[in-house]
Amino acid sequence: MPRMTLVEAVNHALAQELERDRRVRVFGEDVGKNGGVFRVTDGLQARFGEDRVFDTPLAESGIIGTAVGMAVYGLRPVAEIQFAGFTFVAFNQIVSQAARLRYRSGGLLSVPLVIRAPFGGGVRTPELHSDSVEALFMHAQGIKVVIPSSPYDAKGLLHAAVEDPDPVLFLEHMKLYRSFRQEVPSERYTLPLGQAAVAREGDAVSVFAYGAMLHVALQAAEQVAQEDGASVEVVDLRTISPLDEECIAQSVSKTGRAVVVHEAARAGGVGAEVIAVINERCLYSLLKPVERVTNPDMPFPLPSVEDTFLPNPARVAAAIRRTLEP
């Protein structure tokens, strides 16, 4: 099996979708000849032509608005927004238009659109490039939000996203683009949207994370396991909307303790919803307050102090230990 980075896995999946289905078109700013500012779409235009893979004018609302039209018409657009923070320029087109057209048309129209966008900290981008936006789109209804934490998941989830009849926001963590390789099948396979995955089994405490934070959580889990002998479960949420409530509830019912990790600000973040799910589904199993390890309630930190603010293994380990206190 080939070993791929996340960039390669996404590139590979896009190529397979373009090959498999004439209706698939990949477009956005700089995705053509340049192959994307992270090279995610490298080589695709040369291989599939300018009709299938093309650059648009520099206008995010225009990208999503025309993509909605193409999707309604019967195509399977895969649009790139160059950085997730720029989805805000297209917020109305995503939240009120793409996500709602099924509802607005009484169920007859659908918008099978995938919006890909890089996000995430740890790579010292200029301001506004690293922001986590997933919680905003979790609160919007009619769109799914997917965040892979590995090349293998990225490929399987992206294939599923393209196949999905509803709009999917597919967020790719920049830190993970090239940080490691993994065996990824060349064949097309799908991983179901809406399902979390237990990344590490344990029975003393559940840690919920996604994207690059999954790896931070795993490191913290390993550390606590080694140093304290505690058995830590780590759950990769993978799909942020709709959340896999069943998996969350099962894990916490077993462990009775939980930590949620994300890079986004705390107030109104995904962590809050995970806590609400725990509250609703297994409060009586909960032995200690759920810990949130997140950015403070402020914009994404400036590059020079990113490392101080981003959740790191030590901070997550400390939170795990707090939940383990008697």
């Binding site: 078109r25 009709d51 648009t56 004018p57 206008a59 609302s61 225009g62 608005g65 025309t66 993509a67 909605v68 039209g69 193409m70 999707a71 309604v72 018409y73 019967g74 195509l75 109305n92 087109q93 009120s96 238009q97 057209l101 099924r102 509802y103 607005r104 048309s105 009484g106 169920g107 007859l108 129209l109 659908s110 209804q141 009619g142 799914k144 999905d164 009849p165 509803d166 809406g194 709709p242 959340l243 409530e245 069943e246």
Partner: protein, 352 residues
């Protein structure tokens, strides 16, 4: 500029119904059908306003005064073509094939049961100007499929100030998409007059600025609108790219049933535009051409009134919208969350 703006305002019929340009080559039955739709639009709108007054439907935006523009812009379209507009385009939607009953249902607050799909329209848009981008996307889809089909994308003068309208023009220009943009410039965006909407003399100037021709047409002249849209549609079909058309018209009624134009509009202006009402203008023309006489006109009005009466009866005889259905409209498949929330609601309604 590569595309000079047609400086004159294209006109075929003077306000008094006299021919002042070359009439399009349309057979009598089509001219009559155009007129029938214009009358239908007027009576439909009046009926909806009356229903709203009686609390039988929700807020409604009257169409009165814009019938010529709406009918003229929809007329050149074939079944495979698409038409995309806002709440003010109900009449052009009907001409394109959308069921008047289905449109009325949306004003009763029902799910708009796919009313627009067969006719190749999108649900009429509420968030101004956003639909014009969808229209460009559809046109890009047709182009990709190598189809000879076209899209007409419509919005109001106010909507042209939105970023999306301009992004749509720009995308269409860059991709040479087979689309015709029609701006229904009815002089007002609720209470804001056209001159406060943009400092340009004509909105059509935006066309050349984005690399496409721009035309101004008398929007109360159904034949003129038909002609200029028909030409633009032909160009788009032939692969010659997009066109922007500004139709000068006037909203004779209130913005919606929730609006009181007396707050902001002078009677003088209303009087002026009433004199340019598209309906009498076209009626006089048809009568001058011996294609209509007062008796036939009366019969037409009666027939439409009867049609509308039965439409309202059908509308009101419908069972109420089932709340449970809404859970199936969010995603293709209900999420576990929606399943649970639906079950909770049904239990609460005693309908488990």
């Amino acid at each position: 500029m590569p595309f000079p703006l047609a400086h004159c305002i294209h006109q075929v019929l003077a306000p008094d119904g006299k021919l002042v340009g070359a009439a399009p080559d349309l057979p009598a039955d089509q001219l009559f059908a155009m007129y029938r739709w214009m009358v239908y639009g007027r009576l439909y709108s009046d009926r909806m306003v009356a229903l709203q007054r009686q609390g039988r439907i929700g807020t409604f935006g009257p169409l009165n005064g814009q019938e010529a523009a709406s009918v003229g812009l929809a007329w050149p379209l074939q079944p495979a073509d698409w038409l995309v507009g806002s709440y003010r385009e109900l009449l052009s939607y009907m001409v394109k094939g959308v069921s008047p009953l289905a449109l009325a249902e949306t004003y009763r607050g029902y799910v708009g049961d796919g009313y627009a799909l067969d006719a190749h329209c999108l649900p009429y848009q509420i968030v101004l100007a956003t639909q014009v981008l969808h229209a460009v996307g559809i046109a890009m889809g047709m182009q990709y499929d190598g189809k000879p089909d076209v899209v007409v994308g419509v919005c109001g003068d106010g909507a042209t100030s939105e970023g999306d309208f301009n992004e749509a023009l720009n995308f269409a220009g860059v991709f040479k998409a087979p689309i015709v943009f029609v701006v229904q410039n009815n002089g007002w965006a609720i209470s804001v007059p056209r001159r406060q909407q943009t400092a340009a003399e004509y909105i059509a100037h935006r066309g050349p600025a984005f690399g496409m021709p721009g035309y101004v047409v008398d929007g109360n002249d159904v034949l003129a609108v038909y002609q200029v849209v028909q030409d633009a549609v032909a160009r788009a079909r032939a692969g010659d790219g997009p066109t922007l058309i500004e139709a000068l018209t006037y909203r004779l009624g209130a913005h919606t049933t929730a609006d009181d134009p007396k707050k902001y509009r002078l009677d003088d202006e209303l009087g002026e535009w009433t004199a340019r009402d598209p309906l009498p203008r076209f009626r006089t023309y048809l009568m001058n051409q011996n294609l209509l006489d007062p008796t036939a006109d009366e019969r037409l009005h009666e027939a439409i009134a009867a049609e509308l009466q039965s439409l309202v009866e059908t509308l009101e005889a419908q069972p109420p919208q089932d709340a449970a259905d809404l859970f199936d409209l969010v995603y293709a498949e209900r999420t576990p969350q929606l399943n649970r929330q639906r079950a909770d609601l049904l239990a609460e309604l005693g309908r488990e």
